[in-house]
């Protein structure tokens, strides 16, 4: 790094125009990414407050803080805020929006106005959900199982369902925008197999957005209609089938897990080769595994329903398919680990997040095998084992990827460097705090503590107190980056074009980039993550034998 000679560019996307209108009516994908950054951070904050209250409440067996009604609302609203309004849009709408055009050498997304529209749709959907939270709350669980949600619940279910229904269009439009952009707007020389793996991950995610989201939209609409007009889709008293709701719900909501984790995997696939300074191991396998996860992910939904009374044959088929979808994830982990081999490894903050991601995703993924196992699911289904498992995937995986990605591209987004030492401390704090919070929950689950319990038998208290103690460390790990990243926007050192250095196109333009992204359309004549043939990076020529011919047999 040579910060001494770096200067901020005179004009860039942040200062090219001024005023609130220039932001609220912008069609610049980079500014829209920042609008999303602010709004998903807001929902993360809300969901985080609910989570904090949950953990404090569970300090004692009889419940420490709130009434049962309030507790049920807390975990429901925590789930709805975090899943639909933070995790699903986080990486695609923030980092994806910012990076997809930059990484493929385009000036913007294919439909800049639709991109802005999707943010407004997100805000509208979010307003309905906040209205539900503020006027009676929501106590159905984020899964909205019928007939509890459609008949029995006394909380503000309908506005929440409408909010999530509206928000779905935001996902669909973002997905369409990405697919069209990646197909039609790649720079000369940017062939499909020269695309950064982050782009492959965004592409796979977009496919799920487009194919899956309409299903959840219509499902929640049917539940809302049943609630409002007693139409009898799911209520057995009116001739409906409550299990049908679960099939429709999970047909989207299981692939939605891959919406959360695939983009994070894309982030990790960018960071690891950068800080190991060598090509990623098995590029085509990592790219293909993203597509495989997106496709197979649509055929595993009923593994959430092994104990609803579904037929034994269905259970066998869905268990087998669930093991099948685990293989492409395993392939990624093996390839990332192999990328470290004979690298030149630096432990900058994004790399710490990536290594942390591998560790936590590994535990999350392996415990998924336990839940896919029919004979174990009859014991651990709907216990804290499940809670621990999906937090390892969604928080340990997706959020670590997101925060790691924010750090990695922060110099590009703001033109400034964050304080490195503090950032490393925060990364380690997050990793330790996360494990202390959620590992005890695996044990609680195997001991038999069901999820969504506002009180519990006294023998479960020790593990619950441990979990709450861990959560306080975890909270610190989230607050630190919010503080120093904000601080660095004004006071951070100037980053320069390519501080790491990394090989992607986004690093060939000034930081922050100009509104048009590139002064002239870039031409790509190098393979992805190829440090050897990039004299412009100012690195040494690698020594030692080339063990495999450059890119072709992998």
């Amino acid at each position: 790094m040579t910060p001494a000679v770096n200067q901020m560019p005179e004009e860039h996307y942040l200062n090219s125009t001024y005023g609130i209108r220039s932001w609220l009516l912008t069609t610049d994908h980079k500014r829209i990414a920042l609008l999303y950054l602010a709004s998903v951070t807001f929902f993360f904050f809300i969901g985080g407050i609910f989570a904090t209250m949950i953990r404090i409440h569970l300090l004692t067996p009889t419940g420490y803080l709130v009434t049962p009604e309030t507790y049920n609302k807390l975990f429901t609203m925590h789930g709805v805020a975090m899943i639909f309004f933070f995790l699903i849009p986080s990486i695609p709408a923030v980092l994806g929006n910012f990076l997809v055009p930059l990484m493929i050498g385009a000036k913007d997304l294919a439909f800049p106005k639709i991109n802005l529209l999707s943010w407004y749709i997100y805000l509208l959907g979010g307003s309905f959900v906040l209205y539900s939270f503020a006027t009676g709350g929501l106590d159905t669980g984020w899964t909205f199982y019928t007939p509890l949600s459609s008949v029995y619940s006394n909380s503000a279910v309908t506005p929440a369902l409408i909010g999530i229904f509206i928000n779905g269009f935001s996902s669909i439009l973002t997905g369409l925008n990405f697919v069209v952009t990646i197909h039609t707007m790649r720079a000369p020389g940017m062939t499909w197999f020269r695309l950064p793996l982050f782009i492959w991950a965004q592409y796979a995610t977009s496919i799920i957005f487009i194919l899956g989201t309409p299903v959840i939209a219509i499902t929640l609409l049917l539940a809302a209609l049943e609630r409002a007009f007693h139409l009898g889709f799911f209520n057995p008293a009116l001739g409906g089938d409550p299990i049908l709701f679960q099939h429709l719900f999970w047909f989207y909501s299981h692939p939605a897990v891959y919406i959360m984790i695939l983009p994070a995997m894309g982030v990790i696939s960018e960071i690891i080769p950068t800080f190991a300074r060598r090509p990623i191991f098995g590029y085509t396998f990592i790219a293909a595994s993203s597509i495989a996860i997106a496709v197979i992910g649509f055929f595993v939904w009923a593994h959430h329903m092994f104990l609803t009374g579904e037929s034994t044959y269905a259970a066998l088929a869905f268990s087998l398919l669930s093991y099948l979808v685990a293989l492409p994830s395993a392939v990624k982990v093996f390839n990332w680990t192999s990328t470290l081999y004979k690298g030149s490894i630096a432990y900058d903050t994004p790399m710490l997040y990536s290594l942390g991601f591998i560790g936590l995703f590994l535990i999350g993924g392996l415990t998924g095998l336990f839940l896919a196992c029919l004979g174990l699911d009859i014991h651990i289904h709907d216990t804290y084992f499940v809670v621990a498992h999906f937090h390892y995937i969604m928080v340990g995986g997706a959020v670590m990827g997101y925060v790691g990605g924010i750090h990695f591209w922060w110099p590009k987004i703001t033109g400034k460097l964050y304080p490195e030492f503090l950032a490393r401390v925060a990364a380690v704090t997050l990793f330790v705090g996360f494990n202390l919070t959620f590992f005890p929950q695996f044990i609680l689950g195997y001991l038999g503590m069901p999820r969504r319990y506002h009180n519990y038998p006294p023998e479960f208290q020790v593990l619950n107190v441990m979990s709450t103690a861990g959560a306080s460390i975890l909270a610190l790990g989230y607050l630190l980056p919010m503080l120093y990243l904000t601080w660095s926007m004004r006071y951070g050192k100037v980053a320069g074009r390519n501080p790491w250095p990394a090989t992607g196109l986004e690093w060939r333009t000034p930081s922050p980039p100009p509104t048009e992204n590139f002064d002239e359309t870039p031409v790509v004549d190098w393979e992805p993550y190829d440090f050897k043939n990039r004299p412009d990076l100012g690195l040494a020529t690698p020594t030692g034998p080339t063990l495999a011919p450059a890119h072709g047999d992998d």
């Binding site: 509890l148 009374g309 196992c373 004979g375 506002h454 009180n455 440090f531």
Partner: protein
């Protein structure tokens, strides 16, 4: 039987040792991969540290043999996990013959239990050791789930469906049961205790019953009160088929298909008779949807099940082949 895993509940049913052994297998496989990958990361972390600012790594792009290896080996391990898990699950989903049948009804936020002789319990369940017990589960409102950690089994309790679950208690004692499907405000207190007793103690406990009607007797009364008996005449001369021998047998329907007369079929035929019309009969029966409580439906079902051993008339039988053993 094998040693108990640390951090696991007591083993009190036939399923507990098999679930725990399966768990041990998955933990071993997972530990192997977790340790191997973590070790690789830690070793690479130190061995391949960047030594100078401009150093670059060795450009290795991949290796087809390695990729094949780490797809095929985990693939076989996954198949082993799937197969072993399937064996336990299929066993759990198929109750053996001659079970002790206990009716369990979930409603917001309590469990009502009825023993075969009619003895009722609330949030308590008494079962004998070394006897195959089958719970027939019904819900009066939302979806619940009956879960006994010490038995390692659970099953959803779904309104409009019957689900069944079975287990063989192996160890006397008192164990928690929970509702493990979120069901609204007091979900967390919708639980109770399973008391597993020696068979003689169980028999003594059962005979200390308050003299409540057994489901069978209650069902027989209902069969007359609700006028079922006026059409379903046992000698087959009524406007509806005789129900003798129906339970467990095969019934031919008006559209030519056949169906096995299990608890769910009987339930549906009471609540929505038009759903499946027996061949040769008119759709005359009124629907009882919303007319009967879950307990009444269970009692009627118990009575119809008891007709399994009655002589089947030559004509007017509802059943084509019986399920009698």
């Amino acid at each position: 039987m094998q040693a108990q895993l640390p951090f696991s509940p007591e083993q009190a049913s036939n399923f507990a040792p098999s679930v725990d052994t399966l768990m041990a297998f998955l933990i071993l496989v997972s530990l192997f991969f977790a340790v191997a990958i973590t070790a690789a990361i830690v070793i690479f972390f130190f061995k391949f540290r960047r030594k100078s600012e401009h150093e670059v790594g060795v450009p290795i792009h991949g290796d087809l043999r390695l990729e094949t290896l780490w797809i095929v080996i985990p693939g076989f391990l996954a198949l082993a996990m799937f197969g072993w898990g399937a064996v336990v699950y299929v066993d759990f989903r198929h109750p053996p013959p001659d079970t002790l049948d206990i009716y369990v009804i979930g409603k917001q936020w309590m469990w009502k239990v009825q023993q075969p002789n009619g003895r009722r319990e609330i949030n308590e369940l008494h079962v004998p050791t070394d006897r195959d017990v089958k719970l027939i589960l019904a819900s009066e409102d939302v979806i619940h789930d009956f879960y006994v950690p010490a038995f390692r089994v659970k099953m959803d309790v779904v309104p409009g469906h019957y689900n069944t679950m079975w287990f063989r208690p192996t160890k006397a004692g008192r164990y928690h049961f929970f509702c493990s499907q979120y069901c609204g405000t007091n979900h967390a207190v919708m639980g109770g205790w399973v008391t597993v007793m020696d068979p003689s103690d169980y028999a003594a406990w059962l005979s200390g019953s308050s003299g409540a009607e057994s489901p069978l007797v209650a069902g027989e009364k209902l069969f007359t009160e609700k006028a079922c008996v006026t059409c379903h005449i046992s000698n087959g001369t009524g406007r509806a088929p005789s129900l003798n021998g129906v339970y467990g047998g095969t019934v031919r329907l008006a559209d030519g298909s056949t169906v096995t007369a299990d608890e769910s079929y009987i339930r549906e035929s009471i609540l929505v008779p038009s759903a499946k019309i027996v061949a040769g009969y008119q759709p005359l029966m009124p629907a009882f949807q919303g007319q009967l409580t879950e307990e009444q439906i269970l009692s009627l079902t118990a009575y119809i099940k008891s007709l399994q051993s009655q002589p089947i008339p030559a004509t007017g039988a509802g059943v084509v082949t019986t399920g009698k053993k």
